[in-house]
């Protein structure tokens, strides 16, 4: 894959509680922003295939979407369009499918777009009632009918991180403080305000050991990326970003089949494969957007991707190594924690951030580039058994 694919345009809308926007409104705005982002211009008809990221479909009142929805929204029904759903990595995997489309040689220019409306229904009905594991009255097995959702599953990991690795609630809270700080400088972030350690630790306990401010918000949003054949990229932009690797990793779909609760093998596998594909080592990455749906999850991700050894992330976070101007900035966009988590848009929003950083257009939140390589990561699913890792670089 390396050397074959370039990103020529990225576009998104500010994530948030967008009660005034429908799914179609969000999709069209992100799409038009993406077209306008192609600096030498692009005729929309040059897009020869598209992939539409949509996680929840009918679960939370968006209707069951398919490829035709995106085709109609963008007024282009002459091309193949497919819906992608792959849990929280939906956005990152939608990008991967677009890359595979170009790498296959079938298409020169394609679109990846993800959008999600999370806020039209209250939390209990949307996330709580939607996940195959989360529903009180749904589920693949009776063992799931015990009120599990994202917070309780990650809280069980957090308990074990505290037990095995000696992590504390303060360690988790520091992730929220860092990411909220970064989010202040990102005009697309859902939350653009600072929080203190004390405020995180005194916030409502959602699911012990996780507080309200350890959890990402539920967010509406949309994001889009146009990718093309690397050798054609300069036709469209003077500032292309190249795709080094795009990989999905999986693990068991049931918690009771899994072994460790301080490691998510889906991430380990996605990252290992991606680094092999890219031909680089984790140490060569300048910065990363990782899936901090919960604060403890960010620490686990940093370790599982291979940036640091298991059990070291909390200390290094405390030492400032993952700060905006630290050794390895993690989540310069504010992460899911501050930037928001509109599921199918999340991964593509992270790609937007990685591309913006690699183009050195990130303003106050610009990280220092050394090798010019950035990484994007998602993990999710009922037992956090699916993950995606995309690696992008400034040079081919």
């Amino acid at each position: 894959m390396r050397g074959k694919i370039a990103v020529i345009g990225v576009g998104m809308i500010r994530f948030g509680e967008l009660f005034d926007k429908s799914l179609e409104n969000m999709v069209q705005e992100a799409y038009l922003n993406c077209l306008n982002n192609v600096d030498k211009g692009i005729d929309p008809k040059e897009i020869k295939a598209a992939w539409f990221g949509q996680w929840s479909g009918g679960f939370i009142g968006q209707g069951t979407q398919s490829g035709q929805s995106l085709a109609s929204f963008i007024g282009n029904r002459e091309i193949p369009v497919t819906r992608i759903e792959n849990a929280c990595p939906t956005g990152g995997d939608t990008f991967r499918h677009a890359c595979l489309g170009v790498a296959s040689g079938l298409y020169d220019v394609v679109l990846a777009l993800g959008a999600e409306k999370m806020r039209d229904k209250p939390s209990a009905e949307s996330l709580g009632g939607a996940g195959s594991g989360g529903g009180a009255e749904t589920g693949s097995h009776p063992a799931w009918m015990i009120g599990h959702g994202g917070p309780s599953i990650q809280a069980m990991h957090a308990t074990r991180q505290m037990y095995e690795l000696g992590y504390t609630m303060e360690d988790f809270a520091r992730v929220a403080v860092k990411n909220h700080h970064n989010g202040m400088f990102c005009p697309y972030a859902h939350y653009q305000f600072e929080i203190t350690l004390e405020r995180v630790l005194s916030s409502y306990v959602v699911c012990w050991p996780l507080h309200l401010l350890d959890c990402c918000p539920q967010t509406d949003g949309a994001a889009a990326v146009i990718v093309c054949r690397a050798d054609l990229a300069k036709r469209y932009t003077d500032n292309p970003v190249y795709v080094m690797a795009s990989n999905v990793g999986v693990d068991h779909s049931q918690l009771w089949d899994r072994d460790s609760f301080v490691e998510q093998l889906a991430t380990v596998r996605a990252a290992k494969g991606a680094f092999e594909m890219a031909g680089i080592k984790p140490g060569e990455v300048d910065f990363a957007e990782v899936h901090d749906c919960f604060t403890n999850t960010e620490l686990m991700n940093i370790e599982d991707i291979g940036f640091v050894r298991k059990g070291e992330a909390a200390r290094m976070l405390k030492d400032g190594e993952f700060d905006l101007h630290g050794r390895l900035p993690i989540n310069p966009s504010g992460g899911l924690k501050a930037h928001g988590h509109p599921i199918a848009a999340t991964g593509l929003g992270q790609i937007f951030e990685v591309v913006t950083q690699l183009r050195e257009e990130a303003g106050q939140r610009q990280v220092k580039l050394k090798k010019g390589i950035g990484l994007q990561h998602n993990v999710g699913g009922p037992a956090f058994g699916v993950s995606v890792v995309n690696i992008l670089s400034r040079t081919v």
Partner: protein, 134 residues
């Protein structure tokens, strides 16, 4: 208002697993899982045997959920249990005077309790309660 169902298909289908605790053990890799399956989730082997899960174990991990779905009274304490002899079970604690009584490593046993309500019907399953250290 949803029509009451004559029975919960989910619980009817999984009766052997939920009430008689029948799972599988892989003769090749030793992995224990439930519900019964024809292909080992861990290694892909077809060489499996039925395995009755024990009712006793220890808490591998847990959390205290103060924001469960509306059909539950908070707080609830979901647990992952290391079963005696291997394998894990996912469930809820019951009969704890306070969630703080539950720790990683606490000894527990299964007891039959109401789990939830499915379209107006009570459905029962195993929950875990703390047992005294011997």
């Amino acid at each position: 208002m949803t029509q009451p169902a004559p029975a919960s298909p989910l619980f009817w289908r999984f009766n052997p697993e939920v009430y008689r605790l029948i799972g599988i053990k892989c003769k090749d890799c030793g992995h224990i899982s439930y519900p019964r399956t024809k292909i080992c989730h861990e290694c892909g082997s077809l060489n499996l045997e039925e395995y009755k899960l024990p009712k006793k174990g220890t808490v591998h991990t847990y959390c205290v959920n103060w924001t469960p779905p509306p059909t539950f009274e908070p707080p609830i304490t979901p647990v992952i249990i290391d079963l005696e002899g291997g394998g894990r079970y996912q469930g809820l604690m019951t009969e704890t005077s306070t969630p703080e009584d539950v720790k990683v490593g606490s000894k527990v046993e299964m007891v039959l309790r109401k789990v939830t309500t499915d379209r107006g019907l009570n459905v029962y399953g195993y929950k875990f309660r703390l047992v005294e250290e011997e």
